[in-house]
Amino acid sequence: MANKITLNLITCRTIQQGVGMEAGKTSKKYFDACTIIHMHPEDFKKLGAWKNTNVKVTSSVGSVIVKAVETREDLVPGLAHIPMGPWANRIVPAYTFSTGEPCFKGFPVDVEVATNERIMGAIEVVQDACGLIRK
């Protein structure tokens, strides 16, 4: 039985994200680099999920489907990381505390297993939120 766990999320650049971005926002490199959430092995145990499982990450402003991977740059348990990009920004709170800077680092998210959910493409994930996809 899969659980729901609460983690502290940060979003930042990875070199793979940078390379993907320059290869093109619609490229596979960009998709592969940004549609992941880095998690600590202990959090995988708590979540009851295998590595490379799709998960649903929900914050106070919305949710997004990404793939959970084990971290390469070490995290402490309870801390998770999604590379910057449109997927991460689906759940970044826009409130800026009057500084102009939204809360890109350090906000709580719920993570739950969503094996059968599909990860959206870079443009789709933005258009979907903006209501621009005609069905």
Partner: protein, 441 residues
């Protein structure tokens, strides 16, 4: 015969590497290979030859598809949008030349726009702190030749500025740093054991969001005052030890990044880091530098700075006076509050890098995006005007992260008939003049 173009400036990050060698085809149209650049820089140059590039402006149709239009048609649409809107957000500028920015600002003055650059979601907090307490800084050349104590605080150059460490901060041998890496002590403060931390002599793992407390503890330790047992997850013994080592250096530098500007505290974190730098100058020479992201975001700050006195988020909607107030004239706040009537994006991709709620607000307004490639913003815009890539297909002035201006070079010809940022903005500017002379759109 393919030929090598040497001393090319890499237009990716604020390090602005100036030793890239690009091999171009005989007809000057295609990039064949790139030497010396990092993975990201090489990808940027290589992208030039990828198939499927958009070569003419596109306009969104009522059914959601895009139709190709002429440059003149797209420029006319843009000028009319700008003249009609009482408050336009003109955001981006960080990946274009200073010359293009200057023309853009002229348009903003005429139509009452708000000019903002990528610092607003990046080093904006740093700029607020610098306005508050000043900044003791230096050039990267001084770092290379003098620095023997290097601190990376909340930044990860191994991923974001890949050649920074080899060109300036960790490995190079300089005039007074003849031993290179061996003569330097490297510190990394981060909440993750990053790839940069792996290059450091000392890694200090701070609890996420406790940078202010730790910086404050460093200042306290520097003054020899008492500390609690742990601060932000770091034992006090380690803090005292590191501070003593820093005091023993001849030239110290703090490089800081998004780990300070994006976490809770924002500008106050930077404020404290600058004050720590000032305090350390009681013992030795110490400086601090922001790790600027986009290759010319510093340039946008410079141009806005000398034209209006503020480095970002400049509200020109009163035309004859420039106003700046963080939280009020900053892009994300303007979009959150639905305060602008139109959006004009150039040389950036807020669709990918702004929180989604800001972009939902943006997508409801008339929007024009000027960018060489298809990205998340162009696909929620009414008009997309493709342009030549600055630093690859056209030259222009850029500022490195240490505020040193560097002239970027043209390496290859842009696709046939493709206009540059400067040309497109000049045409929009002329069209705006015509419309205003006629009394509006």
């Amino acid at each position: 015969m393919p030929k090598d173009v040497t001393d090319v400036i890499c237009p990716f990050c604020g390090t602005l590497c100036d030793d890239v060698v690009v091999t171009v085809s005989d007809d000057n149209k295609t990039i064949l290979s790139v030497k010396n650049a990092c993975a990201i820089g090489a990808e940027k140059f290589n992208h030039q030859r990828l198939p499927g590039r958009v070569k003419r402006p596109r306009m969104r149709q009522p059914d959601g598809t895009y139709k190709e239009v002429s440059y003149d048609e797209a420029i006319d649409w843009t000028a009319k949008m700008l003249v009609k809107s009482r408050k336009t957000l003109m955001y981006g500028w960080a990946s274009t030349s200073c010359q293009a920015m200057s023309i853009g600002h002229e348009i903003a003055e005429k139509v009452g726009g708000i000019v903002d650059n990528c610092a607003t979601v990046c080093h904006g907090s740093s700029l607020i702190a610098i306005e508050d307490v000043g900044v003791p800084s230096c050039t990267l050349g001084e770092v290379k030749n003098r620095a023997d104590r290097v601190i990376f605080w909340g930044c990860n150059p191994a991923h974001a500025h890949p050649r920074h460490m080899s060109r300036y901060s960790i490995f190079p041998r300089g005039f007074f740093t003849v031993k290179g890496h061996k003569g330097r002590k490297i510190y990394c403060v981060d909440c993750r054991y990053t790839d940069t931390a792996k290059c450091a002599d000392t890694f200090i793992q701070v609890q996420q969001g406790f940078d202010y407390e730790l910086l404050d503890a460093f200042r306290t330790a520097a003054r020899g005052e008492a500390l609690p047992d742990t601060v932000g997850g770091v034992p006090k013994e380690k803090i005292y030890e590191v501070v003593e080592e820093l005091k023993g250096g001849r030239f110290g530098i703090i490089f800081f990044g998004m780990g300070l500007t994006h976490t809770m505290g924002r500008n106050h974190n930077i404020d404290e880091a600058i004050c720590l730098t000032r305090d350390m100058n009681d013992f030795t020479k110490f400086v601090i530098m922001a790790m600027r992201g986009h290759w010319n975001v510093t340039g946008s700050g410079q141009v806005l700075g000398w034209q209006y006195g503020f480095p970002y988020a400049v509200d020109l909607s009163r035309r004859d006076q420039a106003r700046h107030q963080t939280g009020e004239t900053t892009s994300v706040d303007l979009l959150n509050r639905n305060e602008v009537e139109a959006c004009f994006y150039i040389a950036t991709d807020p669709g990918a890098h702004f929180p989604i709620n800001a972009m939902i607000s943006s997508s409801k307004k008339p929007t024009v995006t000027i960018d060489p490639h298809i990205n998340c913003t162009t696909e929620i815009s009414d008009v997309h005007i493709p342009v030549a890539m600055v630093g690859v297909e056209v030259g222009g002035c850029a500022y490195r992260m240490d505020n040193v201006p560097i002239e970027t070079r043209k390496v290859v010809e842009p696709p046939e008939g493709m206009l540059t940022d400067e040309e497109v903005l000049t045409k929009i500017n002329n069209r705006v003049d015509e419309l205003l002379a006629k009394g509006g759109a």
